[in-house]
Every structure is written in C-alpha cells, then in structure tokens.
C-alpha cells in the first residue's frame, strides 16, 4: 500500500498549512510587537553550516503536485462492474478520493450520485429502492460520524432482509491523520458499531483486496437471506496513485442461485397440504421478484386454500378470493399452517396480551401441523432480538421460499385426485365468499365518520386510492397502524406494495418511499405513500433530495399531530394506575405550534397542498398534487386526520 509519507497531496497540504500558520502569525498584533522588541543580538549573519548549505543547494525533496492515477478511479471501475444505478451519499472528507473519482473518472454515470442531507435518508432510500428494483444501491458516508447517523436505517434494512451496499471512509494509519477532526473521524474497526446488523464487512488494505472484497460484498448482500454489507475504504487507498496498475484485476461477479428446498421435504409437505381440510399459507417476506406472487397464487389456487399475507412484501393480491389476511379464523381453524419466509411465526399461532400480567396462549387448533419454509433460520445473530420468539414446528424446511414454490406446487398437483379436487373447489368457494364479506365489512366500517373533520383515516385512504386507481400505482409506505389501504385497495401487481420498515425504526417511510420512487421512475409508475407526521419529522430533508433530483412521488402526510402509538401506550399506563389520562398528551403530541407540512415542503422546493382538514377539499387537493407528480415532480399533501 502506498504510504502517506510519500504522498504528494499530503506533503502539499502540510506545506500549505505551515505557510498559512506562518502568515497568520505575522498578522497578529502580538507577533508584530515581539518583532519590534526583540533584542538586537548577532547582527552579523552566521556562516552557513553544512545543513543549510544542503537545503540551499540540493534538489528539492520529491513533492509532486499532480498525479496521473488514483486508487479511487480503480475503485469506481470495480463499482461499475457491479451495475449500481445510483450511489446515495452524504459527502464526507474521508471518502473525498473516491467521491472525486465518481464524478470525473466515472462521469457520474452508473452509479450516479444522489445527494442526501442525512445518512439515515440515504440508507432508507437504498432500502426502499432495493425492494422495488430487486438490486442494491451503493451508499457512501463518513466512517465514524456518518455511520452512526446511518445506523438506524441499517438496522431497519437488516430486520427487513434487504441488501444495502455501504461504503465508508476511514484513515487507517494513525501517522497519516491530520491533527484534529481526522482523529475523531477515524477508527480501528469502524464497522463495529453496526456489525450486529450487517451480514458481512471488510476493510481492504490494498486495491486488489478492495476489488475482491467489493465483489464478494455484493454477492453476499444479494444472496438470500439478503442483508446490508459494508466496505471500509482507507483514504490512502482512495487518494494516492496506483502503485502497480498492471497487477490489478477485477474479479467476475457470479451470483448464487437461491437454493431450492430438499425434494423429500417438499414431497412430505405436499402430502400434508393435500390431506388437510383447512390448510393456510402465511407469508411475510416471500416474494423476492415479480415471480414470487405468481408462484404463490398458483399454489393457493391449486389447493384452493386460505392465504394470510402478513405484508412484508407484495406476496398475494389483496382481492384474490383466497386472500384471508383479515380473517383470524383462517389461521385459528387451520389443520396445517405453512409459514413462508416468516419472521415471526410464533405470532401466527399464539395470542399475546399486553396487560399488567403479560400473558400468551396458543390459538392454533389442537393437533394442527406447523411447517416453515424459508431462509430465516440461516441468518440469525445474538444481540438484537428481531428473530422473535421460538416456535416449535413439525417440519422446518430450509430453502428460498420463492425458489421452492414451483416444486411444491408440482408435488401438490401430482397428489390431487378427483375427490380432493372436488373438496378443494368447495373450500375455495367458501373462502371466496368470506373474502368478499371482509371487503364489504371494511367498506361499511369506512363510512362511519366519513364527513367528519379531522378527516378519518379510512376516508383519507379511500380518497387517495380514488385519485390513483387509474394510474399504474405503487404504494410504498403507510403510517403506523394504518391498515385501511390493505383493506380497501386492489393490490395486484408485484410492485403494488413493498413492505414496511422491518425494525420499526421511525423515520423510514419518507426516505424509503423516495428510494422506491426512484426505482419506479424508470418504469413510469406512479409512486404514492401515506406517512405519519411523526415519521416525517425524523427526516424532512428527504424532500430536498426529491426536489433536487426530480423524483416524482405523491406523498400524503397523515397528520394526527401525535406520536399516536406512544400516546395510546402512555394512556394505557395511566389507566392501569388510575391516575387519569387527560395529560398523556405530554411528550406524545406534535402540537402548539401545529406543523404546516405543506409549507415545509415548499421550503424544500416541493409542491405542497394543505393543511387539509375539510374532507370535501381532500379529493381536489390530491388531484392537483397528482398533476404535479405526473409532470415529473414530487408533491406533498398534508391531511389533518384522525388518530387511526
């Protein structure tokens, strides 16, 4: 690795710094006074000694001011082989070497830099993007201070099993760090602060090492179960000339084919499903690609069985007759429960009560067979407990859910005889009627308080759908606890929905929706999101990125002027303690002053509508905002709404 000691750039920096300090000292009054009052000694000049003679007569120490190659350029060449469309960044001196290379060597094309005013915004954008586009974005930030800003979004991405490709800057060699902030911004092991929620990380010490680790990182991140990875980029490596260009080589990326489950286990599962009277398929982060939903529909229709979509991805059409996602009975009455890429299978088979004595009980039918199929068990770490409670099962099948579904469907088809087919058809008809009843029940419930102000969440959700329903829409975020879109909207395309935050870290919805909008933009889809006001306040600067990079998105703020989930929790505590609940708005609300999100949006250069509190004005405001979005710009509608 080249040494900073020999670095022309650093030597030049030190030279300039010294010159600057000397100049500044000369200007200070104290220095001027010292000059005037200096004792007059040795008026006659000294005879030059051997050192001074050498300085005056020998050629200068090697100190070039330009370079013709740089490690950063090579790094960009490596990144280009990985087919990144964008690099989301918050700029930082620790990666200035590769930053400049991305601009001038890479021509700011694949990846193109997107400027984000916070690292958490950048990572959440990458999370939202990957869930729509199916591949990671590159993300870059400061190693120490930037990575700490990014940490929450990385945790969400980890819990959500989404690949994010993070690169951070660091100065490994202590003697190469400038005094002051470069020390505060350097670490021996910068990834340590987020390693609990990374799948893999490395800190290369040579350019060849970087090339191999960069390709390896991409491969690891995109192999199911997917998760964020991190490469720490030494500043010396980025900035300095390439010492041995002829020896550098970029390895080829060979992606891992997602593993299909064991054939014997699949056949065993098929027998259980075909023999069952009331099987149910529960899915969470199942669909990795557009094919995932198609495969699940085929399996469900073959069995004519209930499907409960937990919603971690767009797994199953919301109005499909077999969709029983809002019928708890579909699980409780099942005799075979198959969990597909479930994160929390325990929750599917048990109820939990949050009272003074927290309690739980099994809700599944006695004797019901429990089976899991997925990659969840392949990537679990100790510290953070996102793996949820242990659920005992009768058969745990390892393998990628989406990749395994076609074989399962074929195995099921082989076992169905005439009698079973007839029984399946009868079962399917009953489920279809129940699904229709669920939809009608939701519509009826939505009418209560329809004309009230603040605007009901049901009406808000219905009006948004009424505005976008004829477009090629993609809903990429909803506020906490708002299940109205999933009850009322017709989700039927692979990109109609892309799941939630993963870790429940607030501040996800706005930036992740923008990342999803970026992915949807090239397909001409209309991106829409409904985000809470509390969530918005974590990362409002996202709107500037939307405006600056002209990313169209219709963003609706469900403005209930509270962190409402927490409001209800504190209220529950006050109730238990019989202390009255009239003051539980302290610390849980966002009022006095009320926040005008439309004005905030306009301040960032985004079209803003609202605050809308009259339900009759909501539809027209949404239509105006839609027109802006269809012209290629982002727009925000602030809706003063009911809590839930």
């Amino acid at each position: 690795m080249p040494k900073r000691r020999n670095s022309p750039d650093v030597a030049r920096r030190n030279f300039l710094k010294g010159a600057g300090l000397a100049g500044a000292a000369a200007l200070t009054p104290a220095a001027a006074k010292a000059q005037v009052s200096a004792p007059k000694q040795n008026l006659k000049a000294d005879v030059p000694g051997p050192k001074l003679i050498a300085v005056e007569t020998l050629p200068p120490q090697k100190d070039p001011v330009t370079q013709t190659s740089s490690g950063g350029d090579f790094m960009v060449d490596v990144l280009k082989t990985l087919d990144f469309d964008y690099c989301v960044i918050n700029c930082a001196s620790s990666y200035r070497g590769i930053h400049e290379s991305l601009i001038n060597h890479g021509k700011n094309i694949k990846p193109e830099i997107l400027t984000c005013p916070h690292e958490e915004i950048a990572v959440h954008m990458a999370q939202g993007y990957a869930k729509i586009d199916g591949k990671p974005l590159a993300m870059m930030c400061h190693g120490v201070v930037g990575l700490q800003h990014a940490a929450m979004a990385l945790y969400n991405s980890w819990c959500d099993r989404v690949p994010v490709y993070v690169m951070i800057g660091n100065i490994i060699e202590a003697n190469k760090r400038a005094p002051g902030v470069e020390w505060a911004h350097s670490a021996i092991d910068p990834a340590a602060i987020v390693r609990d929620f990374l799948k893999w990380d490395d800190q290369p010490t040579s350019l060849q090492h970087f090339a191999e680790s960069a390709v390896r990182a991409y491969k690891i991140a995109t192999t199911p179960p997917m998760a964020p990875v991190l490469i720490s980029l030494d500043a010396e490596l980025q900035e300095n000339p390439i010492a041995d260009p002829e020896r550098l080589r970029i390895p080829k990326l060979s992606k891992v084919v997602p593993p299909q489950a064991d054939a014997g286990a699949i056949n065993e599962l098929a027998k259980m499903l075909v023999a069952a009277e009331s099987p149910v398929l529960i899915c969470d982060r199942l669909a990795r690609t557009g094919a995932g939903m198609t495969h699940l529909v085929e399996l469900a229709e073959t069995l004519q069985c209930a499907v409960v979509d937990v919603g971690g991805r767009m797994n199953f059409p919301s109005r499909h007759p077999l969709n029983q996602s809002f019928r708890r009975a579909a699980i409780d009455q099942a005799d075979v429960i198959l969990g597909l890429e479930m994160n929390d299978f325990w929750a599917a088979a048990n109820s939990f009560t949050d009272r003074i004595e927290r309690s739980s009980r099994s809700t599944s039918k006695p004797g019901a067979k429990m089976v899991t199929l997925g990659t969840r068990d392949y990537l679990i770490k100790s510290n953070f407990q996102d793996f949820a409670r242990y659920q005992e099962v009768d058969l745990a099948i390892g393998g990628d859910g989406e990749a395994s579904l076609p074989a399962l469907t074929e195995a099921v088809k082989r076992l169905i005889d005439g009698g079973r087919k007839q029984a399946f058809e009868a079962r399917g008809k009953k489920l279809g009627a129940a699904q229709l009843a669920s939809l009608e029940q939701a519509r009826a419930a939505a009418t209560v308080g329809w004309d009230a102000s603040p605007i009901s969440v049901a009406r808000l959700s219905a009006e948004v759908y009424n505005t976008v329903k004829d477009e090629d829409w993609s809903l990429v975020g909803t506020s906490t606890g708002n299940n109205w879109p999933r009850r009322l909207w017709d989700f039927k395309k692979p990109y109609s929905w892309n799941g939630g935050s993963g870790g429940g870290g607030i501040g996800y919805t706005l930036p992740a929706s923008l990342g999803a909008a970026l992915a949807n933009k090239k397909h001409g889809r209309l991106t829409v999101a409904i985000g809470g006001d509390g969530d918005f306040m974590f990362a409002p600067g996202t709107l500037w990125t939307a405006a600056h990079h002209r990313i169209p998105m219709l963003y609706v703020v469900l403005n209930n002027r509270a962190y409402h989930q927490e409001y209800m929790y504190v209220l529950a505590m006050a109730g238990r303690r019989s202390r009255g609940v009239t003051d539980v708005d302290i610390g849980t609300t966002l009022k006095d002053p009320n926040i005008d999100y439309a004005t905030v949006a306009r301040g960032f250069g985004v079209h803003g509508e609202g605050p809308i509190s009259d339900p009759a004005e909501l539809g027209p405001a949404l239509k105006r905002a839609l027109a802006v979005v269809k012209s290629g710009q982002p727009a925000l509608v602030d809706v003063v709404s009911e809590p839930r």
Binding site: R328, D354, A445, A446, G449, S456, E642
Partner: protein, 123 residues
Amino acid sequence: MIRVPSLLLAAALAAFGAVDPSARAQDAPRSDAANGQRIYLADGCFTCHGRSGQGGNYYGVTPILAKTQLPFEGFKMQVRNPVRVMPPYTEAVLSDKEAADIYAFLQTLPTGRAAKDIPALNN
C-alpha cells in the same frame, strides 16, 4: 396487514352486544351527552375509538362505538374492567355519571351510511 397477537376487541364487545339492544339507552342513568362529548375527547376515548366513534387501531382493530349496541351495563363493565388491552377507567378517574354521559354521547353519533352511495368506496 394482520397483526396476529391481537384478538379483536370488537369480538369481545360483540358478545356483549348480543344482549337485547332495546334495553341499552334506557338502562343508563340520566345523562348529559354534551358533557359526555367533552369527556370523550378529553379523557382519551377518541385516541383508540376516533372522534366520530369510528374505531381505530391499537394492537389490532378497535371497535366502532357510534351508536354502540352494547347495553349501558355492558359498556360500563368494559370501561371498568376491560377485556383484552383496553385501559381501565376506575371510579377514581371516571364516575358512573360521567360514564353514562359518554354513553349518551355515543348514542348521538351517526352510524355510517351505505357504502354503495359513496363513490370513493366503490373502486
């Protein structure tokens, strides 16, 4: 999206609702709906059940209370010693009279109209 651990409180209340609905309003003590509205909005009922009694979401869907079919005694029982996750409201913080006022207010809230008459709900 289903939140599986949460049994719907609506189910429990629906069981209460099986009691003769004609007995509901007249069972309540003399009450003041206007005061009930004030308490409903001040004492947090609206946070889970909505200002229009339209219901909401807390550990799953919370029930619609507009013109509740619960008899007053069933309503009071749920307020004092709730099933599932609803916070209790003891007499120390909510008197029987105030509970009756809230109940009276809920009876003034309009139920929904026919969904088929609302175009935005027929997409």
